[in-house]
């Protein structure tokens, strides 16, 4: 019952009881068992030891290796146990490439992790390991451990590389089980499929004192095995990849992508010049890094999805189908005569063929790649409609490939011209240029490859992808690409296919250098003018048909000349090699 003195008495009674309990417990811990706990605390008997999982390995479609793990030695430092910082830094400085500044930085970055091992140097050569083990007793703060690092079988841009986790990444990921020494995918597939590849750490809890007596703080679960990361099988074919690498000219920047039209899987993905991802896996020195990023040919740039270029004449099929779809032109209609150019307003637009093509209907305009035809056609098309249709054909938009940082490319619209060049900017000139894939339009080699694969599939566009499936302990996941239909009717697709066939297989077709006797190649050349150099970018995009369409490809060479003479022959060699592989 409500009674203040009584409530007060009861409260004091309970409070006293609880505090007595706490006091007894503290007394028990600190006075009775104090020495025992002090001993435990000095030796750190109770320690959590994580067991690292093996990172998943990456293979090509025939289970040939692309990225593997290999054993290596690493040097760790425990900053809290450093006795003489100068001596330690000098030792490391003398025998390893790490500099004093770097070590100081590592130590000051690890404020709250003073008694955790922090990775200093990876991939130490064996002779140095021997040397180190002789001297390690002088430096209690250093430990040498054997673990595994990544080994990439060949240079490429798609697989990416791994590296030590950065401070920012660690802050974001520490709750999901990453430690400050974790190795994490930084780019490419290694980053995209990080969650599959990484696996799950196991642990051991050590609770044994110096005489080997088990302290028995815990009853259960003292050991848990790590779960290794999933292996990944790619759609890449190492043999084809290797062949393409050998036939590309060393002195040119180029990008070649080959995909399977039936699945959207990428068979070859070559961007040149390339870099050695093993440099990153082993820990890159400042000098190597500077060399890479200051190289004028920019080997770090993945030209297939990060490089955007004007597509040149390979873009003409889009304009042609747009004309047909919107009934701006009939298949048999001939447009203005090509006399080596066309006068539009006060400007004369030149055709690449100075002698002129005469009057052409749509199929031959594609076959001969006549610029004048498309200049004339462009006058009937609204600019924003051209942009819309281009995007619907999935050019100048991301393809959604399973890689990091793919770029959209660019297609200008009315708004953009007004913002860039003022209200009264003329758009006739730029639009005429855009119709032949010149000017502001930029797309990636991969987008073109996917577009031509879709033409081969009668208009069914498939998401390009590198992963075929995963191999895990209990299951295997397959990559399922999404599909969509291009906004082109079957009739018009057939017409376009016919034009692409003629461009390669008939006399005077622009792509005739790609022609093979036993395999039917469909394709379109492109020679895109650009600000970067004198020579045009050479393009050849198309697909090859055996009983059915099987592969689509884009061959792109920066500032290498004409698509018909430079890129087309390379494409035919690739198809020929693929045919040889097929027969084997």
């Amino acid at each position: 019952m409500y009674n203040t003195p009584k409530t007060s008495r009861i409260s004091i009674f309970w409070i006293s009881c609880l505090f007595l309990l706490l006091l007894t417990s503290i007394f028990h811990l600190q006075i009775f068992k104090g020495d025992e706990y002090a001993a435990i605390s000095e030796k750190n008997f109770v320690r959590l030891k994580t067991i690292l999982p093996m990172r998943g390995e990456i293979f090509d479609r025939r289970y040939r290796p692309i990225a593997l793990n290999k054993p290596s030695f690493s040097l760790y430092i425990i900053p809290g146990q450093i006795k003489d910082r100068k001596k330690v830094s000098k030792f490391i400085d003398d025998y390893f490439r790490s500099s004093q500044v770097e070590i100081d930085e590592i130590i000051s970055n690890s404020k709250f992790r003073m008694f955790q091992e922090i990775l200093l140097i990876q991939n130490i050569p064996y002779e140095k390991v021997v040397f180190l083990s002789e001297h390690i007793n002088d430096f209690p703060s250093l430990t040498c451990k054997s673990e595994s690092i990544r080994n990439y079988i060949y240079n490429n841009h798609f697989v990416g590389y791994v590296g030590r986790i950065s401070e920012d990444e660690y802050e974001n990921l520490k709750k999901t089980g990453y430690s400050i020494n974790s190795i994490i995918g930084k780019t490419g597939l290694e980053k995209f499929y990080e969650s599959l590849l990484v696996g799950k750490s196991g642990y051991d809890i050590l609770q044994v004192d110096s005489s080997g007596r088990n302290l028995q703080f815990f009853k259960h679960n003292l050991h848990k095995d790590p779960v290794d990361g999933a292996d990944i099988i790619l759609t890449i074919d190492n043999e084809l990849q290797n062949f393409i690498n050998t036939i590309l000219p060393e002195d040119k920047n180029c990008a070649v992508v080959v995909c399977d039209t039936r699945t959207g899987g990428i068979l070859a993905y070559v961007s040149k010049p390339e870099f050695d991802p093993n440099l990153f896996a082993a820990g890159l020195s400042m000098e190597e890094w500077n060399n890479l990023i200051n190289d004028p040919r920019n080997p770090m740039l993945d030209r297939i999805i990060h490089g955007t270029y004007p597509p040149g004449s390979t873009y003409k099929p889009i304009v042609a189908t747009l004309g047909l779809e919107d009934s701006l032109i009939t298949p048999t209609e001939k447009l203005s005569e090509c006399t080596g150019g066309l006068q539009i307003g006060d400007r004369f637009f030149k055709c690449w063929h100075e002698e002129g093509h005469g009057r052409l209907e749509i199929i031959n305009a594609i076959k001969y790649s006549c610029d004048v035809f498309f200049y004339d056609l462009s006058t009937r098309i609204e600019l924003d409609r051209m942009k819309e249709f281009t995007c619907q054909n999935r050019l100048t938009v991301k393809t959604g490939i399973d890689l990091i940082g793919e770029r959209d490319g660019f297609f200008p619209d009315l708004k953009w011209y007004k913002e860039s060049f003022g209200k009264y900017a003329g758009i006739i000139g730029p639009k005429v240029n855009l119709a032949i894939g010149q000017g502001e339009i930029l797309c990636t080699p991969l987008q073109l490859c996917c577009y031509f694969a879709a033409i081969a599939n009668d208009g069914l566009w498939k998401q390009p992808h590198l992963m075929n499936r995963t191999i895990e302990e209990t299951c295997s996941k397959e990559f399922i690409p999404w599909e969509e239909n291009l906004p082109v009717s079957e009739k018009n697709i057939k017409l376009l296919q016919n034009a692409l066939l003629k461009a390669v297989n008939e006399r005077y077709g622009t792509g005739s250098a790609a022609r093979l006797n036993n395999i039917t190649i469909y394709g379109k050349t492109g020679s895109a003018e650009n600000h970067m150099g004198e020579e045009t970018h050479a393009w050849f995009a198309g697909y090859a048909v055996w009983e059915e369409p099987e592969i689509a490809f884009t061959v792109f060479l920066e500032n290498a000349g004409h698509g018909g003479s430079v890129a087309a022959p390379l494409a035919s060699r690739i198809v020929f090699f693929y045919d040889k592989m097929k027969r084997k």
Binding site: M1, Y2, T4, P5, T7, S8, S11, I12, W14, I15, S16, L18, F19, L21, L22, L23, S25, I26, F27, L29, Q30, I31, K33, G34, D35, E36, Y37, A38, I40, S41, E42, N44, V46, L48, P79, G80, I82, K83, R85, I107, K111, F112, R113, M114, F115, Q116, K175, Y203, I205, F217, F218, K219, H220, N221, L222
Partner: protein, 407 residues
């Protein structure tokens, strides 16, 4: 202007200041790591000082304004805290639960506010003249149930438990006859006996009936109570084994943390090692080696007592306990002076949660009770809990100051 300071309970006030000051020192040490001969520091202590300054301004404010204003705000602030508890569920997850509302510069924890507003609202309800026993019971239950279940959704079991304590203590101190509490608590013991043996259960039922008989309850109510308990006794095993394995494990880990060596169990072991290794005199201020090893991620908040125990030893722990004890004792004694029921109940509620939080937090550091994420009042780092605790004590100080007006 400061006339109210003359009659202030300086003893209580200074005890609170000492605890706050000790807290700043403890946080300063907890956020300092010694490497070789250098110290590295995170600025938690600095933020805590700012929070204390804000809290003391709030104290002055409480002392100055009329109580009628606070009185007016009881129901609106209860509703506000419920709203905040709903809002917090839509906040991004921090460490696996939705406990904080992020306001950019700092985070607020609505459950802290809800504790105080719930106490004040219950006090209002149970001090109404002429209210029947059943109404007290039902209304109090509803007032506690809503915030407690919202907090369970976050999920924050520790704070939800605090509401159970509020509920029980405030009912026990109210006009409600004691057998209500006995009847309400009896199923909990029944659940425990159902895991032991039917013999224990039958013995328990006999004792319960005897106790209830002495309170002159009608046989019908005693009969219903016995029937309900028997039903619970038989249904418990079915519910328990109907749970999924991981759900059972979670409950078992809560009762016995050493089942989960990587989670709470690991923290408790490390905390015990830290405190135990402090021995009589401790390792010295800033010099705790276990703290430096950073085994405990929360040592500036929930596990701050382990830092005190390690660095200042038994003497430091004893001093902390004495400060807390005197502080609580003073409040408990003061209750006698509060003749107005509502103020009395508010003070009892505040006393209860402060005691509960102190006991559970220190007990958790010592491995006596499961880890629940309840901070140590006045000592642990954290703005919300600090502000609410100082505000609560300010209320009690105000009641004591102005008791002649209220009577």
């Amino acid at each position: 202007m400061f006339h109210y300071l003359k009659r202030l309970d300086w003893f209580l006030f200074i005890l609170m200041l000492l605890l706050l000051l000790g807290g700043v020192l403890a946080i300063y040490s907890a956020s300092t790591t010694k490497i070789g001969s250098e110290f590295h520091r995170v600025d938690y202590y600095y933020k805590q000082i700012i929070w204390i300054a804000i809290a003391l301004l709030l104290f002055l404010g409480v002392m100055r304004i009329q109580y009628s204003i606070i009185d007016l705000l009881v129901v609106p602030s209860y509703i506000l805290s419920l709203l905040l508890l709903v809002v917090v569920l839509f906040m991004p997850e921090i460490k696996g639960s939705h406990r904080w509302i992020s306001l950019g510069l700092f985070n607020i924890q609505p459950s802290e506010l809800a504790k105080l507003t719930t106490i004040m609202f219950i006090a209002r309800v149970i001090s109404k003249p002429g209210i029947t026993d059943w109404r007290i019971l039902v209304r109090t239950f509803i007032i506690v149930f809503i915030p407690a279940s919202l907090i369970l959704l976050e999920p924050d079991l520790g704070s939800a438990m605090t509401f159970v304590v509020i509920f029980l203590v405030m009912l026990a101190s109210s006009d409600l006859p004691n057998y209500f509490l006995i009847i309400m608590l009896s199923p909990i013991i029944t659940v425990i006996t159902s895991f032991i043996s039917p013999v224990v259960f039958i013995l328990y039922m006999i004792i319960l009936t005897a106790i209830l008989y002495r309170t002159h309850l009608s046989w019908i109510i005693i009969g219903i109570n016995t029937a309900c308990n028997t039903f619970i006794f038989f249904i418990t095993p079915y519910i328990w084994y109907g749970l999924k394995t991981y759900q059972r494990n979670r409950i078992l880990s809560f009762i016995d943390p050493s089942r989960d060596p990587l989670g709470a169990g690991y923290q408790i072991i490390q905390s015990k090692i830290a405190i135990g290794s402090g021995k009589l005199l401790g390792k010295g201020f800033l010099l705790g080696s276990q703290k430096n090893l950073n085994f405990l991620p929360e040592h500036h908040t929930d596990f701050i007592f382990s830092v005190i125990g390690e660095e200042l030893g038994f003497i430091g722990c004893l001093l902390t306990l004495i400060l807390f004890y005197l502080f609580l004792y003073r409040i408990a004694k003061s209750i006698t002076f509060l003749k107005r029921k509502e103020l009395h109940f508010i003070s009892v509620g505040i006393l209860a949660i402060l005691t509960f939080q102190i006991f559970v937090n220190i007990g958790m550091n010592l491995g006596l009770v499961p880890t629940t994420g309840i901070p140590l009042p006045f000592i642990s780092y954290g703005g919300s809990s600090l502000i609410i605790n100082v505000f609560s004590v300010s209320l009690i100080l105000k009641f004591l100051n102005e008791r002649s007006i209220f009577d």
